[in-house]
Amino acid sequence: MSDFVSVDKLTLAYGDTVAVPELSFGIGKGELIALLGPSGCGKTTTMRAIAGLMTPKSGTIRIDGRDVTRLAPSLREVGLVFQSYALFPHLTVFENVAFGLKMRKAPNIRERVMAGLESVGLRDFANRLTPDLSGGQQQRVSLARSLVVEPKVLLLDEPLSNLDARLRLEMQMVLKDIQKKTGVTMIFVTHDQSEALALADRIVLMKDGRIVQSGLAEEMYSAPRSRFAADFFGFENILPGRDGGLLAWRPTAIRLGDGPHEGTIRGMSFGGDYRTYVIDSALGEIKGSVRAGLPAFGEGEKVRFDLPEGEAVRLEAA
């Protein structure tokens, strides 16, 4: 295998409860991938096993050709940005970032720490204590602390979920920039499909400790293969087709106002560009979106609609 990080038949358990059974996947050098899934799907457990914070029951983890499965976290050359940032509260920003370099007795610590702080825009904060910083700043300190030791793999736990919309975009650009400049392989964990789509080159979608589907972000978005994947990526209408297979439509693919089916508007939510209606019909509950500029339907109003087969995604499995 030529994968930079490879996980092979990895089984992870808490006591007798198996959280991840025989998981296998590979990541190329310099790739930015997302482990995506609902809470309890095993994504965080998998990340902790790669970091060495959890000992696998069986299976192997390799980083850059070396078997690290039983290696102490400190010897794996990985970095981890915790969801809570996990900064050392008794140390300044500078000392936090310098921590890993000091442990390695690295030369030029001062210059490397300042360069690391520069790269996350916190050069002027070197002497501050970390509890005084905002959440976004703490996260960037945590990022710099992980990066200055030049890890082979950078792991990030829900890197965008604690940030507001503006900071999210900023952090997204910081991370993309780091990927470009350092070429570090990055794995991040998230439960939010929009985060995964925005940041990742490739997405590994997980459920109950197993991979449901993995592929390029765009491919996952436009061509989910299973009901679970389709549902996760916003195909809210999943119905059996004429041949017995399953077809999935996004609300925007449903045509309202004309068509062979009829239903009653039960509710509406306004989403800026679109109004999304919930329609009760003989086919079950249908969600259809209409551009906000067009005339609106009222609650209780009868409406005709069409499920264009050309716009549907055909699912392979239930």
């Binding site: 970091a51 400190s74 915790f82 996990a86 509260p89 921590f99």
Partner: protein, 260 residues
């Protein structure tokens, strides 16, 4: 003043009178120029404060009490900090039972602990009184050490230690580099609490005394039985001032009350 605040004021006033009143009585009694322990004092002088330092047995028992308080507390911390760490960080079987066992010196009356140690440790095994005292004091302080340190460990997130592991620390290294600096205040608070508890301990020490081996409070009791002069009051004043001083400094520099 509204009736409710009059009531509140009265209660606060009475509380202060009962808390501070005896202290004032003792100070005044110690300042007497007469030869009897009496209140109000018979003239004012510092002669009893000076007398305290000339009593040989007070000097000896003061050093015994000091030794027990300092080394008993250190021993309790050496045992208690790892115990607190294990209780706070690991899902150890029987953690509840351990916590209860550790707290038992708080629950079992000191008189019984002292009697039991004398009857079943010192008499049959020939354990020295000093060794039994040391053991008893360390055990009495242990609950405070475990409790105070556990609560300051619970304020430190586990992932901070994990971050240290990933950045290159060993388990032990992460304890000394990351955990210890963050619970230092709690450990110092436990030390002060343990020190004061040990120093003022009476019931256990009452049974564990022998020729030449007495803690200061017990020595004061024995002194009063034979000599009813105000030097005991003077000594009590000096001890109270020492305790208040320690707690004041701890509060001033550590915010002691956060940990207790």
């Amino acid at each position: 003043m509204k009736p409710s605040s009059t009531a509140t004021g009265t209660i606060i006033g009475l509380t202060l009178v009962f808390l501070i009143g005896p202290f004032i009585v003792i100070i005044l009694a110690a300042l007497t120029a007469g030869n009897n322990l009496a209140f109000p004092p018979d003239g004012l002088s510092l002669k009893w404060f000076i007398k305290v330092f000339t009593v040989e047995s007070f000097r000896i028992s003061f050093f015994i009490s000091m030794f027990l308080a300092v080394f008993g507390t250190l021993t309790a911390l050496i045992v208690g900090v790892p115990a607190a760490y294990a209780i706070a960080r690991y899902d150890i079987p029987g953690a509840g039972a351990i916590q209860l066992a550790v707290s038992s010196p708080l629950i079992v009356p000191g008189i019984i602990v002292g009697l039991a140690l004398l009857r079943y440790l010192v008499i049959p095994t020939g354990f020295t009184i000093m060794a039994a005292l040391f053991l008893a004091h360390a055990a009495l302080i242990l609950p405070y050490a475990v409790r105070v340190v556990t609560s300051s460990l619970q304020n430190l997130r586990v992932d901070v230690e994990e971050a240290a592991l990933i950045l290159g620390c060993s388990r032990l290294g992460s304890f000394f580099r990351v955990v210890f600096p963050n619970i230092r205040g709690g450990i110092l608070a436990a030390f002060i609490l343990g020190f004061v508890t040990s120093f003022n301990q009476v019931p256990v020490s009452l049974f564990l005394s022998g020729p030449g081996v007495r803690t200061l409070p017990i020595d004061m009791l024995a002194y009063m039985e034979t000599t009813y002069d105000p030097s005991v009051a003077a000594l009590a004043c000096l001890l109270a001032i020492m305790s208040v001083g320690i707690v004041f400094l701890a509060e001033r520099f550590l915010g002691f009350s956060r940990y207790v």
